[in-house]
Amino acid sequence: MTTKPCEAVYDAWLASAGMPPDLVRRLLDVYKTPEAAFRAFQQGEEPFRIAVSPRYASALRVSGAGRWMESTQALIEKHRIFVIRYGDPEYPVSLKYIDQAPAILFFQGNLSCLSGRMLGMVGSRAASYTGQKAARKLAHDLSSLGVSIVSGLACGIDAASHQGCIEGGSPTAAVTACGLDTVYPRDNIRLRNEILEKNGVILTEYAPGEKPAGWHFPFRNRIIAGLGQALVLVEARIRSGSMTSVQHALDQGKDVFVWPGDPESEHFEGNHQLLREGGIYFTSADDILADLHWLDNQTEVRQNSDCCTEIKADTPEQAAVIRSLSPGSLGFEQLLEKTQLDPPALMSTLTILQISGIVESLPGKQYRLKH
């Protein structure tokens, strides 16, 4: 953390070759600092010749050229990127004992937020509306109870989780799969700035200048799983990146909480498979906290304020709609059938309920109660 920018460039050099973290760690054990390693490499010292395969060596030689060092130096300064190494006292404890713990981490923002209570939240990028809503609400609730959220700064569930966490007041951590100078996906640039403004941290094991590549993502997921004390899966299909995060969490011996999504929807097929295989079922932030024994006084207080929002209906039609919607979202046609209203009457009623903020309409002509 104390690394000066002029030193960080050697960390970037060491990280740039894509060597396995364990190898980097061993090299650092020998040379103590990346700068020393750099000098040793230039002089062709023995440990490098023996331990580092020719493939990595040539990559290191390419990055070691003057021009690369200069431009990387510039990136580090421009984006105010800091570095933390495995042996440093500030290195997140939660990462220390995971398999393939990253040897070098680059970060922007406030690293100390990693030391509090933290949960990983993962899910699909092309997420359903319900999934995103659930992620945002869950992150918000957890965050307002002092639990930070770590996620991957992608679209969909990731973005919703970060957003919810920010809104709940706790700092959030994002682990990216590319150098910190790149914003990927571009749509998240505002979210990214907001994370930093709200005392959060963005970190990665990839050197500045590194572009996102397909294989970075599943590998990066072990850090997300590692940083959280448990992992929350919001929405995943069976073959998806989120399922690799779950695998990492299980390998690391962590609990995996699985949100029970709509059983009929393809979006949640991964969730249901996991639930059958023993994933932990939950429906609210409180469930998670209770299972993790994190419930304390402040939590109890909040509990009742949420459940007693009795919804007022002005007319029998409104009452019928609210009654039909209370188990969950429904399509227009199903609502017609349940309420036995005719289409014009149902449409008018829905408009009134939407205006008064009781019901919201989702894409796909679905309606649900807004909590």
Partner: protein, 516 residues
């Protein structure tokens, strides 16, 4: 041989209007030949070969004169084979092969028809505008191909004499035999033949969408449907012509004229009494939609005049094609200008468009996951420009119907009973806009909306709250008022109540959900 001049009257077509053409034939001695002048196009110029053969096959021998045929006025382009018959008659008169009986005044009779080499007469395009023009020019008798007769049988006060070959015409002119006159058909009896297309009773479920197309039809509003593939958007659209009010005589004439000149009328058919339903494929060019080609032909928007233009997969249409729709949508008219020809065609249609919510089609579906990324979805939706969306009053989502609903045997309401309600609402509108040149709510502009669509106090309050809490734009405001006028008309209510406004708000929902 004496130099003889013969004159025969016929009609040509320019745009959707007919104009009189005098076929003048001048026969003189010299090497046998025939020349046609007066701006003929290729099909007219080729007519001399057809004419020569047809005359030879009519049993009167051939001509050996030097013949010049002039189509007067000489400064308007003449197109199509409909001049064959008058040219043949002119040639026969000029070469003494045919002597019209005394009392047959060939100046007061119009002839048109295409000849076959064997002398039989083939149907032509544009019979209706030609006969209308004949009537306007004071002509009372028209001789035309028998397969065009039904098309024009509705025009009152005309003697329509259908013929099937050249000898029939010759004999009639010489008063040897008569021709059975085409019976006049009353327009109302034709209406019974109207084909309604898909009947609404075939649609299972979809009560929300059914209501929406009823409202759209009742006010003549343009409509956009968004829904996952297979949700029945196309089927819903096909029902619309069947629930629109029956065509009036004028409407039918206008539409038939356009179809007549573009050769889209099936042979032997009468006036069009079924509202057209045009569904061009999404690779349609601008010219095919709007009209064009060398001779500035009418495009799909004009063929859909007084009917429905259905654009499936709206975002797949080229940007320029979609933007070109703006003029006809606004004016109900389209001007097609080409170097050699300009034409204005009527094109007042109801636009019904359908699209998927995203490239893969499953965004928002709770049954199948969507594979598209948010930028992809945005790009897809952005292919529809704001100004075009602006002209679409009703925008609805169509959800797919669950299987058990499709297989349920409970019958839905049929088109006839929906059409009855629509007709009633339309007649209220006709009454209200009498003398303003408008005939349905969709045609109201902003000033009219202020004048005719004033909701009562409570409804205004509701609308204002809705604008606020649902973040609706000012343009949505106008559209909601127009649509609520239609909903009130459907209910037979003079005033616009809050229930009407509340329903109309539902037809603007896509604004907030998709085009934010």
């Amino acid at each position: 041989m004496a130099e003889i001049l013969a004159k025969v009257l016929t009609f040509g077509v320019a745009g959707v209007n007919g104009f009189p053409v005098h076929v003048e034939v001048f026969a003189t001695g010299g090497l046998p030949m025939m020349e046609i002048i007066g701006l003929p196009d290729t099909s007219v110029r080729e007519s001399k070969n057809r004419v020569t053969a047809a005359i030879a096959n009519s049993g009167r021998g051939g001509s050996t004169a030097r013949i010049t045929v002039n189509l007067a006025p000489a400064d308007i382009k003449k197109e199509g084979p409909s001049f064959d018959l008058p040219i043949a008659l002119g040639v026969m008169i000029a070469t003494d092969m045919l002597h019209p009986a005394p009392g047959v005044d060939s100046d007061q009779i119009a002839f048109f028809g295409e000849l076959s080499l064997d002398g039989s007469i083939q149907p032509v395009n544009g019979a209706l505008p030609m006969v209308i023009s004949a009537k306007e020019n004071g002509i009372r008798t028209v001789i035309l191909p028998d397969r065009n007769a039904r098309e024009v049988s509705c025009i009152q006060g005309m003697h329509i004499l259908p013929v099937s070959n050249l000898s029939e015409v010759i004999c009639w002119l010489e008063k040897q035999t008569g021709i059975t006159e085409q019976e006049q058909t009353a327009f109302d009896t034709l209406l019974n033949d109207a084909v309604t297309g898909t009947d609404m009773c075939q649609i299972r479920g979809q009560k929300g969408a059914r209501r929406a197309i009823e409202v759209a039809a009742a006010g003549g509003h343009n409509m956009l449907m968004i829904g996952v593939p297979g949700s029945g958007k196309t089927m819903l659209a096909r029902c619309i012509p069947g629930i629109l009010p029956p065509m009036s005589f004028e409407e039918s004439l206008e539409t038939t004229r356009i179809h007549s000149i573009s050769g889209k009328l099936p042979p032997g058919s009468g006036l069009m009494v079924t509202r057209p339903f045009c569904a061009p494929h999404h690779n349609a060019s601008v010219a095919s939609l709007i009209g064009g080609g060398q001779d500035a032909r009418p495009g799909e928007v004009s063929l859909a005049h007084n009917g429905v233009l259905f654009l499936d997969e709206l975002p797949e249409f080229s940007r320029s094609a979609l933007e070109a729709l703006r003029q006809p949508l606004e004016d109900g008219m389209v001007s097609v200008a080409r170097v050699k020809k300009q034409a204005r065609y009527q094109s007042s249609f109801m636009l019904v468009a359908a699209m998927n919510p995203c490239p893969c089609g499953f965004y928002g579906s709770n049954r199948r996951a969507c594979r598209c990324t948010p930028p992809e979805i945005r790009k897809y939706l952005d292919r529809i420009s704001g100004p075009l969306l602006d002209r679409i009053d009703l925008q609805i989502e169509v959800d797919s119907v669950p299987l058990q609903e499709i297989s349920s045997s409970e019958p839905s309401e049929n088109s006839a009973s929906v059409a009855a309600r629509v007709s009633k609402a339309r007649s209220i509108q006709l009454e209200r806009y009498r003398g303003t040149g408008k005939h349905c709510n969709a045609q109201l502009d902003n000033a009219d909306v202020k004048r005719y669509c004033t909701p009562d106090e409570e409804a205004v309050r509701l609308l204002n709250t809705a604008l606020d809490s649902l973040h609706l734009s000012m343009r949505a405001y106008q559209r909601i008022l127009k649509v609520s006028r239609t909903i009130a008309d459907l209910e037979g209510s003079d005033r616009i109540l809050s229930a009407h406004i509340a329903e109309a708000v539902q037809y603007r929902e896509l604004d907030q959900k998709y085009w934010r």
